[in-house]
Symmetry: C2
């Protein structure tokens, strides 16, 4: 890559999430040049959301910076993607998104090479190239927020599996006798350690009459408890919140032990809203890995917080596009 960003060295990237759509121009050096937020308003259904995506891309391509050359469009989407057909097959965060051929819709609208990739997969690539796991040959990215997702990097490339569905790290059974998960399985990591699980467990214990500063924070409305509020209370030393976070960390640690024993990765990068707790969550996770994983493998792995924050999806989507077009290896 030269010192200046030459013609065709930009990707117009989109991160389609359940609450917001992020659009940006991204350089092959991972620089985010123009960035805009749009509300998803997912409840309005696929056609309205698609219109907002097209309008967002249009704004990007009309920007002054785009004049230096946009080589392709790349979309990170919160959902299961059929990579071959470029279709969002389903999405827990986007109601009505069943078999939506997003790639061809966007490609036809702008007559540009268009790529679509799962958002957690994209974030894995972003963190591997420009974030916490720079330069690692083998990296696991796990995102802990409402749900738990992931991405797998092997030999510096995104591992997609036989049909593009690899990396569902939230859907490992950790406790076969545990609660039923949305996916139909029981005791998945997601149903035990996600933000949803943290909020639910806190509400359950508050409902049983346990004392906590959270009762004041939500003004007695137990249904207003969120994982974010639990994290804040835990940071403030609240006993109930601390216990709930410790429980989630134990499960998350057990999930990481599985990943360490299976992949022997150099790095596990932890992203997503719940991971914003930082060492409050990651230190007990690291301890579980040291105690339970194969010693040689536990010594090898570094467990790091994500560095790219909300930009992981757009940067990763751009990396994927640059790789596909041969502008990046």
């Amino acid at each position: 890559m030269g010192e200046t960003e030459g013609r065709g060295q930009l990707v117009a990237a989109v991160d389609l999430g359940g609450t917001k759509i992020l659009t940006a121009l991204v350089s092959s050096r991972g620089k985010v040049l123009v960035k805009r937020h749009h509300p998803t308003m997912a409840a309005e259904g696929p056609p309205a959301v698609v219109r907002r995506i097209l309008s967002g891309i249009n704004q990007l391509l009309s920007s002054r910076r785009a004049a230096s050359g946009v080589s392709s469009l790349s979309i990170a989407a919160a959902g299961a993607i059929d990579m071959e057909r470029g279709v969002v097959t389903k999405s827990p965060s986007l109601p009505g998104w069943v078999d939506i051929p997003l790639r061809s819709i966007v490609a036809e609208a702008f007559q540009l090479n268009t790529i679509i990739v799962n958002d957690a997969n994209a974030a894995a690539l972003g963190e591997n190239y420009f974030g916490a796991g720079r330069g690692a040959r083998n990296l696991i990215y796990i995102t802990v927020s409402t749900g738990i997702g992931g991405g797998i990097i092997i030999n510096g490339e995104l591992y997609l599996g036989a049909s593009g569905g690899a990396g569902e790290l939230g859907h490992m059974t950790i406790d076969i006798n545990g609660p039923r998960c949305n996916c139909g399985n029981t005791g998945c990591l997601e149903v035990l350690a996600s933000g949803t699980a943290i909020a639910k467990e806190t509400r359950r214990r508050l409902g049983q009459g346990e004392k906590s500063s959270l009762s004041d924070i939500v003004g007695g409305r137990v249904e207003d408890v969120t994982a974010e509020k639990v994290a804040l209370a835990a940071q403030g030393g609240d006993a109930l919140a601390t216990a709930v976070v410790a429980r989630a960390a134990t499960y998350l640690g057990a999930g990481m032990v599985n990943l360490v024993n299976i992949f022997n990765p150099e790095v596990i990068v932890v992203g997503g809203g719940v991971a914003k707790m930082g060492d409050l969550l990651l230190n007990p996770v690291r301890q579980v890995v040291q105690e339970r994983a194969f010693p040689q493998l536990a010594q090898t792995v570094r467990i790091l917080p994500a560095q790219l924050g909300d930009d992981a999806g757009i940067i990763g989507a751009a990396v994927y596009a640059f790789q596909k077009t041969g502008a990046m290896r």
Copy 2:
């Protein structure tokens, strides 16, 4: 590859197991040309076992077939291997094998290019090139016998991880509240579904006075119950044996669900002594995968019994050597 096996087209392969050492000449087309069994007599300790390995290789190299040219030596060993240094770092089946530099010992003795690889990893390669998973780009091999091990094939190559320790598929936590595993973790697949676990659970239930044809088979000596005998009794319709096999299959199925959701593999090949039960074990395993894994991924994967039997290790070790020397891709 030409029609005839030319000079340098043979690998002298060794499979070092806890009970026997297998030695063979293997062609680049996976043909086993000369094969010999030697008892390991592992209790005698590393120096005696190493002497038997050297003697076995010597026999191979002295055979008439070896005259056409042996390009390298390749050893599949039951234990953790430091791939970089060619060292067996430890082995549950080989007492005293701690940091034994097997590669350099063998290479110096015969002055031939020598390779060493974990036996389950080798078997994965063998099954991928000449067995049940021929031609699959992404394949998971899992071996269920005394313990549970595995190997991961990604893009037709063995995935080793950051330090050569990837593929410990028996050491995923499936039941975090389950029994303690030899590895120190709790509720690992191995402690729930291995041959050892099957025998132990059967003994426990017989000890509680449950009726079974197994009591007659072992002449009342509960300690003589083995997984093999449980399998025979289950095949004969014994209720207790059937229940124990079903329980192991449920756990094994849950482990496979994890692998399917993580890897989205084309094929999972199941080898090892316990897998010799065939569909009696694999049909309930397949059913658990269909019920619990992501539907798109469950539809993609084929779960198949291994085809190479005891030859998987020597054939796989040879494949690995041929790949390393560029004679096979």
